[in-house]
């Protein structure tokens, strides 16, 4: 259970030589990545470079064929004698992935539930916690993302920025050790993007471990401790954010930054 917090030295994510295909397409070609507790890591790169797929493999939305994935010190996937990745039982994999929370590009809020119900659903059905115990936590999280007054609203009534902040609060309600963000602002107007980034910045200040796939260079520059740059299924740079933005080493990274300038 995530409540049994692993010690500070254990990496929250440790992926080693991960390979993944979609049919004939080799989307992850030997990716290795470690994220320490309290670290904020931005994953950058052109579209199709495998950023989102990597994130989705870390919380078992996709399975890998080769390599090893450890989440908070627990093994989600490891190679067997032939080198192919093996997974534990579905329920065990689910338990391991409870260390992770995920925020999606398209929010994926549950439209038939109110904002509060979206937050308390998983703690109640998955963790079997009592409603009376979960509601105060959910209300505190809504206050934290600035949406206390939307407690009983339906998701369809919210702006995109509000939806994404609810989605962040919903992920936090499961008290994960690391939050994975899959292009959280790509579906939003600049104005709404700002309010979501503000919330993410607050989380970073509270020392939340975050792995963020994003196109928001300002966020990566100002909030991330490290930048991981991916290209064609490989991590081609993995350096402190300040160093990366000062002088990207890799040719593709330089071209990428130039194209955004």
């Amino acid at each position: 259970m995530p409540s049994m917090t692993p010690d500070a030295a254990t990496p929250m994510v440790k992926a080693t030589d991960v390979h993944k295909h979609f049919g004939a397409l080799h989307v992850l070609r030997g990716v290795s990545l470690t994220v320490a507790r309290g670290e904020v890591v931005a994953v950058l790169g052109p579209s199709g470079s495998g950023k989102s797929t990597l994130l989705r493999c870390l919380n078992h939305l996709e399975t890998i064929e080769r390599g090893c994935i450890e989440i908070a010190g627990k093994t989600l996937a490891h190679p067997d004698a032939t080198g192919l990745a093996r997974y534990p039982s579905e329920s065990e994999a689910r338990r391991i992935c409870q260390h992770t929370g995920m925020v999606f590009q398209h929010f994926n809020l549950f439209p038939h539930l109110t904002v509060l119900q979206n937050l308390i659903e998983a703690p109640m059905t998955v963790r079997k916690r009592a409603r009376a115990e979960v509601v105060p936590l959910a209300e505190a999280l809504l206050a934290q993302v600035g949406l206390a007054d939307k407690r009983d609203a339906w998701p369809a009534r919210l702006s995109g920025g509000q939806k994404q902040r609810v989605a962040i609060a919903r992920a936090l309600a499961m008290q994960p050790d690391i939050l994975l963000f899959d292009e959280p602002t790509s579906a939003l107007d600049p104005e709404l993007t700002a309010e979501v980034l503000r919330t993410m910045r607050q989380l970073a200040e509270q020392r939340m471990t975050m792995l963020v796939v994003t196109h928001e260079m300002a966020f990566a520059r100002e909030v991330a401790h490290r930048v991981v740059f991916m290209d064609q299924g490989r991590i081609v740079e993995d350096r402190p954010a300040a160093d990366f933005f000062a002088a990207p080493r890799h040719e593709r990274a330089r071209a990428f930054l130039a194209s955004l300038a």
């Binding site: 409870q98 999606f104 994926n108 998983a122 369809a156 499961m174």
Partner: protein, 217 residues
């Protein structure tokens, strides 16, 4: 007026038969239809194929033929051969037939739910069963309500074909009196009864839809 009061008791008996068959069929075919819909989407190809075949059979032959088959032919079928009395025969035939239609409505509903809903639930640690029960099915019900209402209203009127098994439903009772008394009043009463039932169903489904539509901004 006197005449109306005189013909009402046999017509009400008929209405009882009609309503009974309607309620039983609905109560049995909805759960069966849901099971078929889920089986139709199963990962097991053999199960998918079997269910597709069953749905094809049920939608591809007349309900009256199925009714006659269950009553007259089923006793002679090896292994499953059972002789059912007339009323249970009707319930079985109607349930199988309507389950096939409900299955297709619910299958379409389930398939219309965005993949993001499953992923959102999975990322929160919910099992597949929890996701279906708590996240997917409540949305499927809402989407499926209008077509389910349609089928349900059709069912009320379809029940009238059980006259072929000489069951005294509302329409057969009315026809008996018409032939005896040379008056069309029983037909008018029967029509009024069907219309009333449909009105009540329409109202119930409207309430359900409105209840579920609340969250659609």
């Amino acid at each position: 007026m006197d005449y109306l009061l005189r013909i009402l008791p046999p017509l009400l008996d008929g209405a009882g038969v009609t309503l009974g068959l309607f309620v039983l069929t609905l109560a049995l075919s909805l759960p069966l239809g849901l099971a078929l819909a889920l089986a139709r989407l199963s990962r097991l190809a053999a199960l998918r194929g079997a269910v597709s075949g069953f749905i094809w059979l049920m939608r591809g032959t007349p309900l009256m033929l199925q009714l006659l088959f269950v009553y007259y032919a089923l006793p002679f079928v090896p292994v499953v051969g059972v002789r059912l009395p007339d009323y249970p025969s009707a319930v079985v035939a109607f349930t199988l037939n309507y389950a096939a239609y409900f299955a297709e409505i619910l299958r379409a509903g389930i398939q219309s739910i965005d993949r993001g809903q499953y992923e959102g639930a999975k990322a929160l640690g919910m099992s597949h069963a929890q996701t279906m029960r708590r996240i997917v099915m409540p949305q499927v019900w809402r989407i499926s309500l209008p077509p389910l209402a349609n089928e349900t209203i059709t069912l009320v009127k379809d029940t009238s074909i059980i006259y072929v098994l000489a069951l005294n439903d509302l329409l057969r009772a009315a026809r008996g009196i018409v032939q005896r008394d040379f008056s069309i009043t029983p037909f008018v009463v029967a029509a009024a009864f069907y219309l009333l039932t449909t009105l009540v169903l329409t109202w119930v489904f409207q309430r359900l839809e409105r209840h579920h539509a609340e969250h659609d901004a």
